[in-house]
């Protein structure tokens, strides 16, 4: 296992070292100590490596991830796993605003709560939050799945396209053009797989599904001010 202590080294050197790993690297397991809320830790990775960040991170950790598995043992600041393409990011604590924003693929697991704008403009990423999420989550979500084992805040799924939103608890309010939808067998199967992969013991049957009412897809004079 490779170890990098940010108390003695620079963030730029750490990220450059991680970027230098390619698909057949032998250095597949990394541990990063003393993150102390620094920004952009383990950002832009593109290799099948496992990185554990021991502590809490600041802005944009594990952003633009491809292939790598990143585990943050504390909490994550704003924009964690933003624009993830593939791989897996697991946060043991809470995540701040816009976690998983614009993500195209991969799996983001937040074992605590996520704050506002979780999964904003998601484009194919899967996000599983064991706790609750804040307001304006999945705003303009285009595709992918957002699974919330707790409650959702105001304006869930506002102006969303085809992202699937699953909430086990209450939804404070639905955003414009977001509605509750029928839960079919295929959705229960998606949920079952995502819950298992994210180590949640919630049952698929306990969730409700929300998504686009598709009324904003075409221009409608009644929607104009």
């Amino acid at each position: 296992m490779q170890n990098y202590d940010l108390a003695n080294g620079s963030l730029r050197e750490l990220n450059a070292t991680l970027h230098a790993q390619n698909h057949n690297t032998n250095q597949t397991v990394w541990e990063i100590e003393n993150p102390k809320g620094a920004h952009a830790i383990a950002c832009g990775l593109d290799a099948p490596i496992e990185v554990t960040v021991k502590g809490s991170t600041g802005y944009y950790s594990a952003g633009m991830n491809q292939q790598a598995t990143v585990n943050i043992t504390g909490s994550a600041g704003p924009g964690v796993a933003e624009n993830m393409m593939s791989g897996k990011v697991v946060i043991d604590g809470d995540a701040s605003q816009y976690a998983g924003a614009t993500g195209h693929g991969g799996l983001l697991v937040i074992k605590g709560n996520a704050s506002s704008r979780c999964g904003i403009s998601m484009k194919g990423i899967n996000i599983v939050v064991h706790g609750s999420i804040g307001h304006m989550s999945a705003f303009m979500g285009q595709s992918g799945n957002l699974v919330v084992c707790g409650d959702a805040g105001d304006a869930l799924g506002d102006s969303c396209y085809e992202a699937r939103l699953f909430v086990r608890g209450s939804v404070k309010s639905l955003g414009a053009d977001c509605e509750q939808k029928e839960m079919r067998t295929e959705h229960l199967e998606i949920l079952k797989a995502l819950l298992a992969e994210s180590e949640s013991d919630a049952k698929p049957e306990e969730f409700k599904r929300y998504g686009s009412a598709r009324n904003l897809y075409n221009f409608n004079i009644d929607n104009a001010y």
Binding site: G37, G58, G77, S116, H135
Partner: protein, 298 residues
Amino acid sequence: MCGIVGLFLKDKSMEPQLGALLTDMLITMTDRGPDSAGIAIYGNEVPDNAKLTVQSDTPETDFLDLKSELVKTIQGGLEIRVQSTHAVLEIQADQMSKARTALKSIRPNIRVMSTGESLEIYKEVGLPKDVASRFNLKNMSGSHGIGHTRMATESAVTTMGAHPFNTGIDQCLVHNGSLSNHNSLRRKLRRDGVHIETENDTEVGAAYVTWKMQQGSSLGEALESSLEDLDGFFTFVVGTKDGFGVVRDPIACKPAVMAETEQYVAFGSEYRALVNLPSIENARIWEPEPATVYFWKH
């Protein structure tokens, strides 16, 4: 962008460390605001005395003989502590308005930073580390304090545009964000006789809170109504003689992290600002909810 830090001590034995802890938090937030920095510190009050913290761009002349000249016009004693461009005048509380009137005529260029029994505000243009060392912040003690690092967006980089703003006796406010209706609100407040000195948006926010309280609102009520009357982005941290409060606008895009232990409650724009606090690894850490007023009191 701007940086805010705040520390409210529950454990009195930590009071001598307040300045050192806040200085470290403030300097960590330099990336968020390298233009200017300021700190409001509460403590060291003397019964029946009040403190007037003033600033001058020419302290070597303005503060020279200030004590003897002021003593002539007010009855009772006066102590003066000069700290770089700032001076704290300690006066009997009932002599405060007389002293302020006298100051206006004998030192017209002096600017009042704060008034209160416990509060002192120090702020200047420059990097937070330079501002902190100029005022020797790390050696200050107190029960609670709020600091701010500024990246100016709405008005010029000046001492008077720096935060914290004094909103009333022993009250202060710092802001991260930008208010979009500050011009119309400034005009409205000025029509109501509220003195607003600069073109700064936060000064309007601070004046609004002061004005609401003059109309009979409590600080909590004034903050609640700010959610209705102020348009724009804000995370406000406010200080009072015995407490401090936090409120974020309903969109809550300006960051905020809080930590609480048996010993203290701390605020930071980012978690980075909190990492060197004692026992932070065992603290309860959370993000304050949007449009919710939080308050802690001694």
